[in-house]
């Protein structure tokens, strides 16, 4: 187990602007040479190199690479630390690339475990290591498929059952030649079914479809409350986007931003006014309501300097069953009575007082956005395939793909097909637990009338 090279993301997704991927083991140097461009052949240890990650000669991201030679590293093995932009898609691609270059996803606590084994950590530290590993493996255990309810675990179970069926069929072909002429055993169908399931899981593994296109957030409120000001502030957070439209918003502006490395699609809409001036505006308002309806969450903005009015209440009605953050803006020029009145009208709601202009309490908006991501993660955990699981599924796919072609000559290749299926079963076993040869034999006897 300790012979292979392991890799994992060391910083949690969405916490910093930079993500750190750590690689440890014999192949570390080889991996760096294969995937990093513009780095000297002779890398000096402990020096940070600014370079590029390349995938099939296409640049994926810039990076900073630092190499630590054995035994002067955290784990006591060759270690590379690769910093890249903390964008989940980039992280995913880079990790994929590393794993394809002869490494495997690290198990929880595995870096620390190796550090400990190679006596890089002393006895006092070891106690806390133990705790850390336990905590990690608990987390890992909770990520295990069979502990999960729902769609993903269902699919994995189906895949497992399919592979066992495949095993049963091919083993019957091998073990019971003289009984077989009685049964037409078709294995291609089973292979295709399995491949389809894997495809389905992988397709949905991109951090859920929601995260794929970004969480959509609408900033809503009546005219002139400061929506565009907040929108611009959020855009500023993401330095990559510089252009923005100033002035009163006539229709809507939509921008994709990364906040803490996670994608959002934020929509700044036209303010809603009780006096509907012209039909163009009316059309805009209708569209605003639609935007709200389709969004994942809404930031509803009130004005601390103006009386609460019917429009505020009307807008509130439209967001009632949405995930929402309610803020009273312009707290810097607030009127006490108005504040009181607003609060009394939204007694059951949690309302934050902010000032976009004076940058007061803006953190609530950011933590609301981060919280949304976590919510979605929790809600859709059944469908979040972690890197290790994904790696396994891709390997599984790799075993199954050539089988369809092979199976056309299943007679002469039966034992090789069986070998591939065994490898595939081993992969699924890493997710769902070992499958013993007895299980396959049991299947043979219950499904086929064999034996004399």
């Amino acid at each position: 187990m300790d012979d292979d090279t392991i890799a994992a993301l060391s910083t949690p997704v969405g916490i910093a602007g930079i993500a750190l991927i750590r690689v440890s083991g014999k192949n570390t140097l080889g991996i760096i040479n294969n995937i990093v461009e513009r780095i000297p052949k002779k890398i000096i240890p402990k020096r940070a190199y600014h370079a590029f990650i390349v995938n099939e000669s296409k640049r994926v991201d810039e990076c900073v690479v630092t190499l630590y030679k054995k035994p002067n590293s955290y784990t006591g093995e060759d270690v590379a630390e690769i910093s890249i932009h903390s964008n989940p898609f980039i992280i995913e691609e880079v990790l994929d690339l590393i794993l394809r270059n002869n490494a495997r996803g690290a198990l929880p606590g595995e870096f620390t475990y190796r550090a400990f084994k190679n006596r890089k950590i002393d006895l006092i530290q070891a106690e806390s290591v133990n705790e850390l590993i336990n905590a990690n493996s608990k987390y890992y255990a909770s990520m295990k498929f069979d502990n999960l309810e729902g769609k993903l675990s269902e699919l994995i179970k189906k895949l497992r059952a399919n592979l066992i069926k495949l095993g049963i069929k091919i083993e019957t072909i091998i073990e019971f030649e003289e009984d077989q002429f009685l049964e037409e055993i078709d294995i291609i169908d089973e292979i295709q079914k399995s491949s389809k399931i894997i495809e389905k899981i992988l397709l949905n593994s991109r951090f859920t479809e929601v995260l794929n296109k970004g969480l959509s957030i609408v900033v809503a409120g009546k005219v002139n409350v400061g929506k565009s000001s907040l929108f611009n502030l959020l855009l500023m957070e993401d330095r990559s986007i510089t252009s923005h439209t100033p002035g009163t918003t006539r229709d809507f502006i939509r921008e994709r931003v990364y906040i803490n490395g996670l994608p959002f699609e934020i929509t700044d809409v036209a303010g809603i006014d009780k006096v509907i001036k012209d039909s163009v505006e009316q059309e805009g308002i209708k569209r605003t309501y639609e935007k709200i309806k389709k969004s994942d969450a809404v930031v509803f903005m009130l004005d601390a300097s103006r009386e609460l009015d019917e429009t505020d209440l009307k807008i509130f009605k439209t967001i009632k069953d949405k995930q929402r953050l309610i803020v009273i803006n312009k707290i810097d020029i607030a009127n006490r009575n108005i504040l009181k009145k607003i609060r009394s009208n939204f007694e059951k709601e949690k309302i934050y007082e902010i000032s976009v202009k004076e940058n007061i309490n803006i953190d609530v908006v950011f933590s609301f956005l981060n919280g949304l991501v976590n919510n979605i993660k929790n809600r859709d955990i059944n469908f979040i395939v972690n890197q290790r699981q994904k790696e396994l599924l891709k390997r599984l796919e790799g075993f199954l793909r050539p089988l369809v072609k092979m199976s056309k000559t299943k007679e002469s290749n039966a034992e090789i097909i069986a070998e591939e299926i065994r490898s595939a079963i081993k992969v699924i076993a890493e997710l769902t637990g070992n499958i013993s040869s007895d299980e396959i034999l049991n299947g043979i006897f219950s499904e086929f009338c064999v034996g004399k």
Binding site: M1, A141, F176, E177, A414, A429, L441, K452
Partner: protein
């Protein structure tokens, strides 16, 4: 150095021969001198996985393969059209000749006495074997005893409502020894098996059946065999009818299997005809084979029609099958129930964990099949002598031999039905082939003196010839579909086998070639990539095996384990990480968690 072997069946014979050849004064005890090496069930040796065992026995110097060739009357390679790893030899044998061959062979062995009596007791003193006592009351001192008494422990035969004690049709069973074994504290389980009826050849209308001729040319089993083997009979294939189904369904209550009289667990791979009809009700017909039991013998073995129904129902079944409707039954089918010891009470040498120098081999360990028995007999015989000589034990690994797979399976996992070997039980199936049995295990035969230098050298030359041919394939280039390949590369292609390769090459690659040559070459070329991966796996497993799990480990202290996995570990109590990983439902992540726990524990605490 004295060894006693109880039982002269397929296990006992190999055990006694190996022990005597290795220098022990050996006594082989049999109830009946005439029934030495009796094939109590089907008249054949080998088959898929079983043939592999026979080749291993042969390569280590055992007798079974030679006997099979010398008395063979029909030779066939099963899975011939599939790849080399699963090709397997099977012979049909003349049962009488087989017995005669073995009796003659054993009678001529130095250091070996074949003795007719019944052992009533194994004499034990201070946890050590002292010898055996016979029913006549006399004792025989011995340094080691090998129990190979097959199904004779409390054997009970069932035919319909008729039940009688017997080890084999009308031979006495060993009730004293059975009691003695229980007294010694061995746990036993009740198992069951069955055998079909034997029919008179002249009463069968052969026109109704499809002939199943042997291979042309027939391929022998043994490296000892110098003569040309010959097919002398043909087997036949037939089918049951809907009428048979009806007869059985109407009379199920007469079967002790279904009326609950038999508690023993039968082998699922050897279902009785009533089993098959009940389990697969949609099937209108079931196939069976008619196999002659010998040349000067009219008995025909109805392979596939085993049953425990009363004799008159068996007759009715026969009447419902065209071609057998006028057949005359010579022996009825029966089911037999017997005691086997729980094999987890043995170590990998097949020696009792409790009693020194007491070994068990064969069907008494809960296995089934002549070949499974013989290979255990050989291992037990060798180990009995090695221990008396203070030498290292002989334990075959799972990646080295099917014999290793078989013994490891039964002594670590136990059995819950009569254990039969399947190729799917081997993790390293592509390595464990008939064609390389010699390469895998003949070294042991040589080392223990069971294989002589001359034969070994001769086979080594053949092996070298195969290896040279592979090298030649690497060097020879050939144009194929507008591209140039080495022959080696071409042979890797799924659609090209060795014959096809020679055809493409336009000339012979080997001057004369046997099936072993062809299979060996094909396997080494076609499986190359897989074998590399498997070798890595072997190394990984060896590493895991070296990490021992302390007996009193507290699994509740390991946090990363799911409740389900924890329960399985507590139940199975694996001795090392490899055994833990073998348990169904245990993940590599769980193994990792245990490994981390163990390292931390030994390094910190």
């Amino acid at each position: 150095m004295k060894v006693v072997v109880i039982g002269a069946g397929h296990a006992g014979i190999e055990a006694a021969y190996a022990a005597s050849k290795m220098g022990a004064k050996t006594t082989l005890v049999t109830i009946h001198l005439e029934s030495i090496a009796q094939m109590s069930c089907n008249p054949s040796i080998g088959g898929i996985a079983k043939g592999h065992l026979v080749k291993e026995i042969d390569a280590m110097g055992g007798i079974m393969a030679r006997a099979a060739d010398s008395t063979g009357i029909h030779f066939k390679i099963l899975n011939r059209s599939k790849g080399p790893a699963v090709r397997a030899t099977r012979t049909q044998n003349d049962k009488v000749k087989y017995r005669d061959f073995m009796k003659n062979f054993l009678e001529k062995c130095e250091n070996l006495r074949v003795y007719q009596s019944i052992v009533s007791e194994v004499v034990i003193k201070n946890g050590k074997v002292k010898g055996v006592r016979f029913v006549e009351g006399n004792e025989l001192m011995a340094d080691a005893v090998i129990v190979a008494c097959g199904t004779f422990l409390n054997g009970k035969i069932y035919i319909g409502n008729t039940i009688y004690n017997a080890g084999r049709s009308n031979e006495p069973s060993s009730t004293h020894l059975a009691e003695n074994i229980k007294e010694l504290g061995f746990k036993t389980i009740r198992l069951k098996t069955g055998t079909p009826m034997r029919l008179h050849s002249d009463s069968i209308d052969w026109e109704n059946f499809e002939p199943q001729p042997g291979d042309d040319p027939p391929v022998p089993f043994s490296i000892f065999t110098k003569f040309k083997v010959k097919n002398r009979i043909t087997c036949y294939l037939g089918y049951t009818t809907p009428k048979v189904k009806q007869v059985i369904n109407d009379n199920l209550d007469l079967s002790p299997l279904f009326s609950g009289k038999i508690d023993g667990i039968g082998p699922r791979y050897c279902p009785s005809i009533e089993d098959k009809i009940v389990k697969f009700p949609n099937r209108e017909r079931h196939h069976f084979y008619l196999e002659p039991e010998g040349l000067n013998n009219k008995e025909i073995y109805a392979n596939g029609l085993s049953s425990s129904l009363p004799v008159h129902i068996q007759e009715e079944i026969l009447k419902s099958i065209p071609g057998l409707d006028k057949s005359v039954m010579m022996r009825p089918a029966y089911a037999i129930e017997y005691d086997a010891i729980v094999p987890t009470q043995l170590n990998h040498k097949l020696e009792s964990k409790k009693i020194d120098n007491l070994y068990f081999a064969g069907q008494v360990n809960g296995t089934s099949g002549y070949e499974e028995a013989a290979s255990q007999g050989l291992v037990a015989g060798i180990n009995a002598v090695l221990k008396l000589k203070n030498k290292d034990p002989f334990i075959l690994r799972r990646d080295e031999a099917y014999t290793g797979v078989l013994i490891d399976d039964i002594v670590t996992k136990g059995v819950d039905e009569p254990y039969r070997l399947f190729t799917s039980r081997a993790e390293f199936r592509l390595q464990l082939r008939e064609d390389n049995a010699f390469e895998r295990v003949s070294g042991y035969g040589l080392k223990f003196g069971l294989l002589d230098n001359k034969l070994f050298a001769k086979e080594m030359r053949k092996l070298k010839k195969r290896k040279d041919a592979i090298n030649k394939l690497r060097k020879t280039k050939l144009k194929f579909k507008d591209r140039t390949y080495t022959l080696y590369h071409l042979l890797k292609m799924p659609e090209i086998d060795f014959d096809k390769l020679e055809e493409l090459n336009g000339s012979k690659i080997l001057k004369s070639k046997t099936l072993t040559d062809v299979s060996y070459i094909e396997a080494n070329v076609k499986y190359e990539g897989y074998i590399k991966i498997q070798n890595d796996e072997v190394k990984r497993m060896e590493k895991l095996e070296r990490i021992k799990i302390p007996e009193h480990i507290d699994y509740s202290k390991i946090d990363g384990l799911s409740t389900e996995v924890r329960q399985k570990l507590i139940k199975n109590r694996p001795l090392n990480l490899r055994d833990a990983l073998k348990i169904s439902g245990v993940t590599p992540a769980a193994i990792n968690a245990i490994s981390i726990y163990l390292t931390l524990k030994t390094k910190i605490l």
